[in-house]
């Protein structure tokens, strides 16, 4: 049985007191234990940002990569060893900004990985510039008043839906039980799962505080929402304001994953197939092609 202590790390966190990333870290550990996954069965790939330091604060296989690049690295890992549960944890800058292209393509190909986004609507690590999810008018040093951020924010839910995602959920790091459930659901999903987590940055984004979200988020499940209906999901995706929906916003089950459709992987994880042994008939076939 996996135990929460197995996931404990000796490293002291450098996150600000009260940062929403703590809630994500705790719920992630809870979810993995709930799923009875041991640290060696999981591999967490992060980008670069405050939240991307997360693997250091757990005992788990990890790869802290480059800003924007955890998604292709995660896909490479999973294509090579699909026995591992491969989870991307990265900021909104990482995922929707610099790594936006990878995000779209991982979703459309239904790569069998989980993407958890620490969405704090600001660049934390670089000290508070506006991010792809900052609202229009958001004032920062790179989007100074009077205009603030000129462009409207990315809508990650709608973007994922348009890209052909098979699982889209949102949660809030101030609601640990819900967040834990959503992480379990995302990891359990067969195919590419997006979990956008509303994560307060207490230092650089006072507008999106715990209170701001607490007053607005509501759980769609409690309203009898049907996540399998794409039309309804489109509508839900644009709901943002006084009420912010959290929960599974879209999910289709049974769609084959990318990995399912790769012939070579039908014989098991690539790494476990070892180095191929070559025989006379292979040598002859290779030669014949060029003679």
């Amino acid at each position: 049985m996996a135990n929460i202590k197995d996931y404990a790390s000796p490293v002291r966190s450098t996150w600000c007191v009260g940062c929403g990333d703590y809630g994500i870290l705790n719920s992630l550990k809870q979810a993995l234990v709930k799923m009875d996954l041991e640290p060696h069965e999981v591999l967490i790939v992060t980008g670069i940002g405050c939240g991307s330091k997360l693997p250091d604060y757990m005992t788990v296989n990890g790869y802290t990569s480059l800003h924007g690049r955890p998604i292709p690295i995660a896909q490479g890992i999973h294509l090579a060893n699909h026995d591992l549960k491969v989870i991307v944890v990265a900021g909104d800058g990482d995922t929707y900004g610099i790594g936006g292209n990878h995000f779209i393509h991982a979703l459309r190909r239904n790569a069998d990985i989980t993407i958890i986004v620490q969405n704090n609507a600001v660049y934390g690590l670089t000290k508070g510039q506006y991010s792809p999810t900052s609202p229009k008018g958001f004032p920062t040093k790179t989007s100074p008043p009077p205009t603030g951020a000129i462009e409207p924010p990315v809508n990650p839910i709608a973007l994922a839906l348009a890209a052909g995602a098979t699982f889209i959920a949102r949660s809030f790091s101030g609601n640990p039980p819900h967040l834990t459930d959503m992480i379990v659901a995302a990891i359990s999903h067969q195919g590419c799962a997006l979990l956008d987590v509303l994560q307060p940055c207490v230092t650089f984004n006072r507008d999106h505080s715990y209170d701001f979200y607490r007053q607005r988020v509501y759980n769609v499940e409690e309203e009898g929402y049907d996540p399998s209906n794409r039309e309804v999901a489109w509508e839900k995706s644009s709901e943002w304001g006084d009420r912010i929906p959290i929960g599974i916003l879209y999910m289709v089950e049974g769609k084959p994953t990318y990995e399912d459709q790769v012939t070579t992987l039908k014989s098991g994880p690539l790494v476990k197939q070892g180095l191929r042994s070559w025989g006379e008939s292979d040598y002859e076939a290779l030669e014949a092609e060029f003679t």
Binding site: V11, E38, H40, I48, S65, L66, R69, A80, T264, L286
Partner: protein, 585 residues
């Protein structure tokens, strides 16, 4: 009569089947025991550009093309306009009798004209798309080459389309062959004749590299198409099911290299292939592989120029870029094979080096090497000689035995830290892109840790240096002057040396394949015994000359550089030599 020593050039518009005709004729020549060197030049257009495929034939091994053409097969009038001046004394042109050709001008220049009703034969016997078959038949007829070799290639190429298509093509070829032979053979001095020889492959640099890589245990290839590297991911993809590979045409080159890094981290031999533009996008991740000590093979097939440059033309302009690419300092290995045999060898050796030294290995090729075909004896591509060495990769059993506290980046004398793959309870670890401690935790400030880690990583290069190969010497031990070249300059320089030495020992040649890390002392020592050094490179700034001077102190005396997008040839080198030894270094 000149037997088995000529150059055939096939030219036409893009879309006219120049490449397939050239490749077919090349195979037919190899099956008749002849050696060949094939070079194709295509414009980066799908239709309308002018392409050619040039095949030099001989009964001795060839390492380069030559500029002189003996038989020009023109599928389009423009072929004649472009290439008429390359035709050697006694040479001729094969073309469809209805092609609009300036007979008087060509005759005046002494060029022999061999019009043949190619289209008519194709249409009467089969359909007009068989005109190329007719052209090959006629060419074989005029050179009096054994029809059977053409027939065997036709059978192989059309077998998938059914016996009827095979038979019709055979008949078209036969009629054109007979007509060509009857009408013109007596008037053409260059002949092709079957020679008894061991089995030979006809292969180019890209495919030779693919063979080396798959036999070397490569199981994962991710890439984004970019000329001239595209055939690598294409070949790998079409052979993936048969040879147990996973290939991924990714969304861009950044994803391509990152996927390969991920796959390698999980324990699979992985590579990516691109040209300079794609490599530019990969640079940050190259450093990631260096920092996280993830084995990685990157193939960079150079093309001409910065930005989009000349997509289908050749150059060796990326040498210094490969050695220096990325911010910061980290160990890497750069190999520059110069022949198809060396491409095969580099293809598997790169994976051993990458795993032994847990660092990126770059194989630097170029358009000329990637696209030129050569005949090689099957036994020279000794498939069974491929050795696999995974370095200090911990086995499953070794990992089972480990007690607590596996350190992925353990400080060792060699700098090489025993590598475990993710997935075992005893070796849970984080690969860290920031500077890190021995157990992979972030440590991006502590100066002592930083010094230890930098030194640990570079100790690996000291070990690697011991197995880097010094340049091979071609020609006599002592000579008036010594050519120095690297990568694809090998063939043209080698042929140049042969020609120069026909009248005595004038020249020899040092050919570099292992570029980085450079065994400086050994090479300085080697260079001490040379008299006058002539550097030959396909770039405008003499990058290798600069590199050699930086690390050995030895100045290259003269340089022969080519940067018009065309490959070096023996004629080009000899001409430059005559007009005063080239540009001053």
């Amino acid at each position: 009569m000149i037997k088995n020593n000529m150059t055939l050039k096939i030219g036409g518009e893009a879309g006219q089947g120049v490449e397939s005709s050239g490749a077919g004729f090349a195979k037919a020549l190899a099956r008749g025991g002849l050696h060949l060197f094939g070079w194709q030049d295509y414009m980066s257009r799908i239709r309308g550009g002018h392409n050619f495929f040039q095949i030099k034939v001989s009964d001795r091994p060839l390492y380069s093309h030559s500029d002189e053409v003996h038989l020009l097969l023109a599928l389009h009038p423009e072929t004649i306009d472009r290439h008429k001046d390359e035709i050697a004394t006694g040479g001729g042109i094969v073309y469809d009798e209805n092609l609009n050709v300036d007979h008087d001008y060509l005759k005046e220049k002494g060029i022999k004209l061999f019009p043949i009703p190619l289209l008519k034969i194709a249409e009467e016997t089969g359909t007009k798309i068989m005109a190329n078959t007719a052209a090959l038949g006629a060419t074989a007829g005029i050179t009096e080459y054994d029809f059977e070799h053409i027939a065997s290639v036709i059978r192989d190429n059309f077998v998938k389309k059914g016996q009827e298509v095979v038979n019709t093509n055979l008949e078209v070829a036969r009629r054109a062959y007979d007509l060509g032979r009857e009408r013109y053979a007596a008037d053409f001095d260059f002949k092709l004749e079957t020679v008894k020889a061991p089995a030979r492959m006809v292969i180019n640099g890209n495919h030779a590299l693919c063979l080396g890589a798959v036999l070397g245990g490569c199981r994962f290839v991710s890439a984004y198409p970019m000329t001239p590297a595209t055939p690598i991911i294409e070949w790998m993809s079409t052979h993936a099911d048969r040879y147990g590979l996973v290939t991924k045409h990714s969304e861009d080159e950044i994803a391509a290299i990152c996927m390969a890094i991920g796959a390698s981290h999980a324990g699979v031999r992985a590579m990516t292939a691109t040209s300079g533009g794609g490599f530019s996008l990969m640079v940050e991740a190259l450093g990631l592989a260096g920092m996280t000590e993830t084995p990685l093979v990157v193939v960079e097939v150079q093309r001409a120029g910065p930005s989009t440059g000349m997509p289908t033309r050749t150059e060796q302009g990326d040498l210094l870029f490969m050695i220096h690419a990325s911010q910061g300092e980290f160990p890497r290995i750069v190999l520059a094979p110069g022949s198809v045999e060396e491409c095969f060898y580099a293809g598997w050796r790169a994976f051993n080096l990458a795993e032994k030294y847990q660092c990126p290995v770059i194989i630097l090729s170029d358009t000329f090497l990637a696209n030129s075909l050569r005949t090689v004896e099957c036994r020279d591509f000794n498939f069974k000689s491929v050795e696999l060495d995974r370095g200090e990769l911990l086995t499953e059993e070794a990992v089972d035995q480990l007690s607590e506290g596996y350190k992925r980046y353990a400080i060792t004398d060699t700098g090489i830290s025993p590598r475990a793959l993710p997935g075992h309870p005893n070796t849970v670890f984080v690969a860290c892109s920031d500077e890190h401690t021995q157990d992979g935790h972030f440590e991006d400030e502590d100066p002592d840790n930083r010094i230890q880690m930098v030194e640990k990583r570079f100790r690996k290069m000291e070990v690697a240096l011991k197995e880097m190969r010094t340049p091979t010497l071609y020609g006599p031990q002592e000579a008036e002057f010594t050519f120095v070249g690297w990568g694809s300059t090998y063939g043209p320089v080698r042929e140049t040396v042969d020609r120069l030495n026909e009248g005595g020992n004038k020249a020899n040649f040092l050919h570099f394949t292992d570029i980085w890390p450079l065994p400086e002392d050994k090479i300085s020592h080697l260079l001490e015994t040379t008299n006058h050094i002539i550097g030959v490179e396909s770039n405008s700034t003499g990058q290798f000359a600069k590199f050699l001077r930086t690390y050995t102190g030895r100045k290259i005396d003269h340089q022969i550089l080519r940067y018009d997008g065309q490959p070096l040839s023996p004629e080009y080198i000899l001409t430059k030599l005559q007009v005063g030894g080239g540009d001053h270094g």
